[in-house]
């Protein structure tokens, strides 16, 4: 790594985003690039795994080692990549549909497995790329072509879900609040374990409820309060308060030990000899 020479624009590819003008994903991505650069990473040691949907295009618009997989499976893919080479900085990015609907099972298990990686969820509370169906985080009354009277079901509460699964880091940001967004991502990257950052990333085309104005009005910035993210009880209160939308680092377990550290993985799992590894004949003798 050559952190002193890396500028966040080094993480920008020459591909122009096809996101709608004003899409929250621009701000989300800028913060990711800045946070990666500010934490001493460079495109060559960074592996970004993207999901499916508008958010999933992020790996194309950034410059780093990146993989764009199938819908809902970005987290296990990132886990495999990290465990095989713990030297990599692994960041998984996807939407609320990817993480909290089709990939919800992986989400819970990724949280409790606590592999050292950052999970950025671009939460716009809508399916944008398929043109406007309700998503797992849509409000109960949100009318869409597939929910003419609203989804009639409670929205997923990602922070509460992750907290109950034993999360070691919970952050929430707003794509338009660049500084706070970048700071939270930096803390997430520095965290030793699985860090969830739920980013409100408004869809300007299909969601007329959860708009920039709505979030500006609704968000309570924990950075402006005396909230101590290492205080479990205080974090629990924030996480379970579904009436208030918080911004900032909500919870951080300072004693978190990542799965990859607990398992003591070899850094050179990718290097192989030309023949069978030394000592493997002893395994044959075990069968005698």
């Amino acid at each position: 790594m050559s952190s002193e020479t890396v500028h966040f624009t080094d993480f920008k590819s020459d591909k122009r985003p096809t996101w709608c003008p004003g899409c929250g994903d621009f701000g989300t991505m800028n913060g990711m690039m800045k946070a990666l650069a500010n934490t001493g990473n460079d495109p060559e040691n960074t592996f970004i795994v993207a999901g499916i949907g508008c958010s999933g295009k992020i790996g194309t618009y950034m410059r780093s080692y990146a993989f764009h997989g199938v819908h809902g499976r970005a987290l296990p893919l990132g886990i495999g990549a990290k465990l095989a080479n713990p030297e990599l900085e692994v960041m998984v990015a996807g939407g609320d549909g990817d993480g909290y609907s089709i990939g919800a099972g992986h989400f819970i298990h990724a949280v409790r497995r606590n592999v050292d990686m950052t999970y950025v969820v671009m939460d716009n509370r809508i399916y944008g790329l398929t043109k406007g169906q309700f998503s797992p985080t849509s409000r109960e009354e949100f009318e869409t072509p597939t929910s003419p009277e609203g989804p009639q079901q409670a929205p997923v509460q990602p922070l509460a879900l992750a907290f109950s699964a034993g999360a070691s880091f919970l952050g929430q940001t707003f794509a338009s609040h660049a500084q706070r967004h970048t700071e939270v991502l930096e803390a997430a990257i520095d965290h030793d374990g699985f860090a969830l950052v739920n980013v409100y990333s408004p869809c300007v085309t299909f969601n007329d409820l959860d708009t920039y104005d709505y979030f500006r009005e609704a968000l309570v910035d924990l950075g402006e309060t005396d909230h101590d993210p290492t205080n479990y009880a205080s974090a629990k209160e924030k996480v379970m308060d579904f009436e208030t939308t918080h911004e900032g680092v909500i919870y951080r377990d300072p004693d978190s030990v990542a799965y990859d550290d607990r398992k003591g993985l070899a850094a050179d799992a990718t290097e192989l000899p030309d023949g069978a590894p030394d000592g493997v004949s002893a395994l044959v003798d075990e069968f005698k």
Binding site: F67, P76, H106, A276, L283, F287
Partner: protein, 585 residues
Amino acid sequence: MFEDFNWAVGGEAGDGIDSTGKIFAQALSRAGRHVYTSKDFASRIRGGYTAYKIRTSTDRIESVVDRLDILIALTQRTIDENRDELHDESVIIYDGERSWEAEIPDHVTGLSVPLRDLAEEAGGAIMQNVVALGAACAVADFPIEYLDSALEKRFGDKGEAIVDSNCQAARLGQSHVEETLDVSFEYDLETTEEEYVLLNGDEAIGLGAIAAGCRFYAGYPITPATAVMEYLTGRIEQFGGTVVQAEDELAAVNMALGAARSGARAMTATSGPGIDLMTETFGLVAASETPLVIVDVQRSGPSTGMPTKQEQGDLNTLLYGGHGEVPRFVVGPTTIAECFHKTIEAFNLAERYQTPVYLVSDLALAVTDQTYPADEFDMSAVEIDRGKLVESDELSTWQDEDGRFKPHAITEDGVSPRALPGTPGGVHMTTGLEHDELGRRTEDPELRNEQVEKRARKMETAQETESWEVREFGDPDAETLVLSWGSNEGSIREAMDRLAADGIDVRFLSVPYLSPRPDLGEAIEHAETTVVIECNATGQFADLVERDALTRVDRVNKYDGIRYKADDVEAAIRERVADPAEVSP
């Protein structure tokens, strides 16, 4: 007396049947005898009926027969289930002091041994099966020292006291038969100086994976593939690797894919239901040109089917599963030793062609413990070929004019260079979307064609340059040609020996490569009759053979959940030789 000897222990699930059988198999192996085992078991933790069966001989054996010489029966059902396999010289060892009253068939000798009482005398009722093993040693005239040695292997890590009391329990069983009952039998299990190893197909796959440098395994428990994961756990770590028990098969295959992108040799193993779940990602592995080995240990389907029963019903899904057109390798070991060798080959194919490999095994291979000389697993012969993995100093050849690395570069052989994350100068992305040479999404018709053709070219290169040898047995000029795949090889070979003794010669090609596969056309043309034997109802391999050779073949199918025995194969071939089936060309 027969040259081979057939032994079984049976009872309810939870009676320790498996472990008891394995101990006796290990004792026979340590006595320099060949062993081939099978299991009757059900998908339940307790109750029902389960049995561990051993066929042993001083000669090499690779199949089971319908004959039992000694049966240790812990339940009446064990006797009833095996009634047809018992003969005039058979001996049943049972505990007549227990609450069930054994009904012993008239022609069979029943030996009542107070298994539980003797076990308690030795230190605990839990050792009653070991008492029975001691009794079996007495009946079979088998030196009990080999049983001691197997007990030491099994219980050694629990301390000397446990080993000693087990050896004591075995001796009480032995002396009860020899002294108290004072009967003698004609059985005499010879020992030899040969040194064998005893392992099953799942273990052989795990061993092959470690030998091939596999460093990452992710899986989800499923019968009959779980033993691969259990084998690797605690062992792969000694070689710098790791095992992850994933939350489901979708996660397992994606974790393995992620690890492979990082550059580790990675594998997952499952059975049919898991293959169904992994199929979407299988397409992604192929589209992103990532080397990955996916093991399918087949069991009876469809749906949950018969989870503990044999079938070779997944061939079509392995050959054709997945939307779109997905290049792939399908390699199918035909013996337990081949499970080891083909696993190593699968890793090399995967990396050489940056393409997923299905390694297809089956339940009969997975649950059978079989002896081999240790040098069958010769580690000095293992070669690891990582294909076009490029280091930093070679990268400039594979960059475009703007210095961008091309992970899907168009090449003559279809294989592109591969740069692992962390390699300076190799930064790239890739995706399951159709992409250009740089790995970036495209829907340009020309670029699309280039990538489709490039991926297809890899398979053409493989077809032309790799060796797709079949395993050939019998008389090359015989009128009857038998073709098969998977675990049937052993039974077919034994049936051929018996037929040859009767002057019926057969040529047998055991085919380990399903895609790409060898050209069987010439062999089929050379024969009068071609018979394809497989464990499924529709003849999936026979369909392939017919399509490739543009001809019709005679099909022998078995789909009752039980593996072929040599008896079944012998009967089927005799019938066809006597009366060749009318198969229209």
